[in-house]
């Protein structure tokens, strides 16, 4: 008997509708065949293929798949962080931080190796001029004036404790980060003076800016100043301490 193709398709459609139900089984197939016995062979063969598809085994996924995905996710997270309002700041901060460390590192290296600045013992500033400079440092209205005062201080020979205290006050209180960083640089200029070293170490626990924190920490580490470990321990206990700074200090000092 020649089969009607359209009818065959209709009957197979009934099977396909049944297969949507996961509980469709032999009894359902038999019921369908009883209703359409002329298509029994087609129905059985289609049903057999459907079931045999279960025999196609799927291998285990490569264990590196997870690593690949999380690397991709990490890349997206980094890009997203940089695009966030605070994210870019953090990124720039990091760059500045390490730039500051580089500058300070070079400065410390110069002092440690050459004693160059001590050799240039030229008192370029008179007594009255010194007082004016200190006034400009502590009370100057603009950051550029205070920076200029710091540059003048670097020209002093054997400055008195009063000068270091003024620098310390600036390092602790000045609202401008660049001024505070310049102050560190100036105090490093006189790093052979015990007062300068003492105040550099003391200043670290007053800092709330991560750039200044890590710059000072790096200075202390490089100077290997006696007693500096205690100051750094105090710093590590501060809640305000930047996490990156904390980790860097702990790694460097083996704390």
């Amino acid at each position: 008997m020649k089969k009607n193709i359209t009818d065959l398709e209709k009957v197979l459609d009934l099977l396909v509708e049944g297969l949507e139900n996961k509980d469709f089984g032999e009894s359902d197939l038999d019921r369908l065949i009883r209703r359409h016995p002329e298509y029994a062979d087609d129905l059985r063969k289609s049903w057999k293929i459907w079931r045999e598809l279960d025999d196609i085994e799927v291998p285990e996924i490569n264990s590196l798949s997870r690593e690949r995905f999380y690397q991709t996710l990490n890349d997206f997270q980094q890009v997203a962080n940089e695009r966030m309002p605070g994210g870019k700041y953090v990124h720039i901060n990091t760059v500045l931080r390490w730039a500051a460390i580089f500058i300070i590192g070079v400065g410390v290296g110069l002092f440690a190796n050459s004693g160059f600045f001590r050799a240039g013992n030229v008192d370029k500033v008179s007594g009255n001029g010194k007082n004016q400079i200190l006034a400009q440092l502590t009370a100057g209205e603009s950051a550029s004036n205070r920076m200029a005062a710091i540059q003048h201080i670097k020209g002093l020979t054997n400055p008195e404790d009063q000068v270091f205290e003024a620098l310390f006050t600036t390092l602790v209180n000045d609202p401008n980060v660049n001024v505070r960083l310049s102050t560190i640089e100036a105090m490093l200029h006189f790093v052979d003076n015990p007062k300068s070293r003492e105040l550099l170490i003391k200043a670290i626990t007053y800092q709330d800016d991560p750039i200044v924190q890590i710059t000072l920490a790096e200075v202390i580490i490089r100077l290997q100043q006696e007693g500096s470990v205690d100051e750094i321990r105090k710093l590590l206990e501060m809640n305000e301490l930047d996490l990156e700074v904390k980790m860097h200090l702990m790694e460097t000092m083996n704390l």
Binding site: V58, I61, T72, M84
Partner: protein, 187 residues
């Protein structure tokens, strides 16, 4: 076979994806853990190539992350992820078969005769291998409809949403796919 997410987990997918959209990208990790095994099974049955299937899974999640803002929270996440999976697969298919029309079954029929001769000698394991090969020879649309229904447990109406066609078209694809597989294996 990879475990499929439970219905409750599926309901949470939209919420997780919304969190991803809002900036908490770590939630994509939760979605990856839920879906990557299932997607790997889907692609493996579609391609019969484990390495390629793994690449396709990675590609899907890359696109989910890249186009996360295009997700519509009022739609189902499952539709979206399988829609992306469909596109990822079709991109690969077009790349590998630039001149081949998706509904062109001429090649299939030619292979059918070839397979017919093989069938005479085959044993059970060979039949399994032939079925695996035959599945690769039916059109990708038919293969997708069969796999999404049989292995991913989706309803025809759900597959229709993913494939962007009608439910009846999906039923027809399943029927034609089964008929093609029979032709390849049993004649």
């Amino acid at each position: 076979m990879p475990l499929k997410p439970k219905p409750l987990e599926r309901e949470q997918d939209n919420f997780l994806m919304k969190q991803v959209q809002d900036g908490d990208l770590s939630k994509m990790g939760v979605l990856f853990e839920q879906y990557h095994g299932e997607l790997f099974g889907y692609f493996y049955r579609m391609t019969n190539d484990p390495a390629q299937s793994e690449d396709l899974v990675q590609n899907v999640f890359y696109r989910l992350l890249k186009y996360r803002h295009s997700f519509q929270p009022d739609g189902k996440f499952m539709y979206w992820i399988y829609g992306v999976a469909k596109n990822v697969f079709l991109d690969l298919y077009k790349k590998n078969n630039p001149l081949r029309h998706s509904q062109d079954i001429q090649d299939v029929k030619e292979v059918s005769n070839e397979e017919k001769n093989k069938e005479e000698q085959m044993v059970s394991s060979e039949r399994k291998e032939l079925l695996r090969e035959a599945l690769q020879r039916i059109s990708p649309e038919q293969r997708q409809a069969i796999i999404l229904s049989k292995f991913q447990g989706l309803k025809y109406q759900e597959i229709a949403v993913i494939a962007n066609c009608t439910e009846n078209a999906i039923k027809a694809r399943v029927r034609r796919g089964l008929t093609e597989l029979r032709n390849l294996l049993d004649h």
